[in-house]
Amino acid sequence: MSRTNRFAFLLAATLLAGCAGGTTGPVVVSPNGQPAPDQPEGLAEGDSADELDARKDKLVLQMRELEQAASSDPKQCEDLCSLATSICGVSEKLCNIADDHAGNDHYQDLCREAKRECHEAQADCVACVEGLAGNGGEASCAGEPAEPKAEEPKADKPKADAAAEPKKSD
């Protein structure tokens, strides 16, 4: 092989190796001279996998909140909270009796069951009220509860007056 042909062969081989070794596109440099991050910055509607996942999660959360709000109506919440108040009041009476029979398993079992029913009833009341608040309230940002309106029942421990008249403010 002549020198010219050898040089041409080597040049061609070098170029082919560069192609097979990978593509090197243009390098984007940020204003500060550093290489730009992989993800685009400052884009609110990007199509990257992470951004699509974040949008999907947000939409799922909104859908669940809407479902919960759709299943809650004020009358149902009023009834649930009223029952919670009654259950917890009677539970307290029962457990006071049980305190006088500390060594009697029958009384203690009934007291334990009563306390459990009270906790479950309160949880139902709170869940119902929070569902209403999510439907009618204005969330300041994701994950933070809205400021309760004056006419909405508060999502705390149900009280007799709140359960009976949930639209009055304290």
Partner: protein, 177 residues
């Protein structure tokens, strides 16, 4: 003579045993302490087709409640009279109306006439009787529990309160459905 005496003795022993069984109305636990009876049997009340007699009965009960509201001093008498009205057999809701009347009458009798309230409601809501799943049943049970508590009967009070909580939990489950 000896045979007659043996027969007499056997008869006395048998009579004594039967008397002991008949006198045992409450459950007894170790140490002869009464055990709370928290049994609760329930049923749903189906809506009945309104008849003239049924509507008249409902009107009479509503009227009694209104008169009791207007005359607190005579409330017990008014409610007792309403409770004595015979309800139409085809009115399924009548048992709920009667339970509410009894509960309210019991509240009116408490605390000074706790024994009367207890006797009235013990007859209306005994543990072996199936009760309609309704707030009226829960109300009656709570008032009976209060009456028992006022009389110092812890077993009856605790058992009845437990039954009322179970009834209210059933109502809660119905609301969530």
């Amino acid at each position: 003579m000896k045979r007659a005496f043996t027969r007499l003795l056997a008869g006395l022993v048998l009579a004594g045993s039967l008397a002991g069984v008949a006198g045992c109305e409450t459950q007894r636990g170790p140490g002869d302490e009464a055990v709370p009876d928290a049994r609760l049997e329930t049923h749903a009340v189906l809506e009945s087709t309104p008849t003239a007699e049924g509507l008249e009965y409902i009107r009479q009960v509503a009227d009694a409640h209104q008169r009791a509201d207007d005359n607190p001093d005579k409330a017990a008498e008014i409610l007792r009279e309403a409770l004595a009205i015979t309800a139409p057999e085809d009115l399924g809701e009548a048992e709920i109306l009667r339970l509410e009347l009894a509960a309210r009458l019991g509240e009116t009798l408490l605390p000074e006439r706790a024994r009367e309230a207890r006797e009235l409601l013990t007859e209306m809501v005994p543990p072996e009787k199936s009760l309609p799943i309704d707030r009226a049943s829960a109300h009656a049970l709570v008032v009976l529990g209060d009456a028992a508590l006022a009389e110092g009967d812890d077993a009856l009070a605790a058992g009845t309160f437990a039954r009322s909580i179970r009834m209210m939990s059933l109502l809660r489950q119905e609301l969530k459905q």
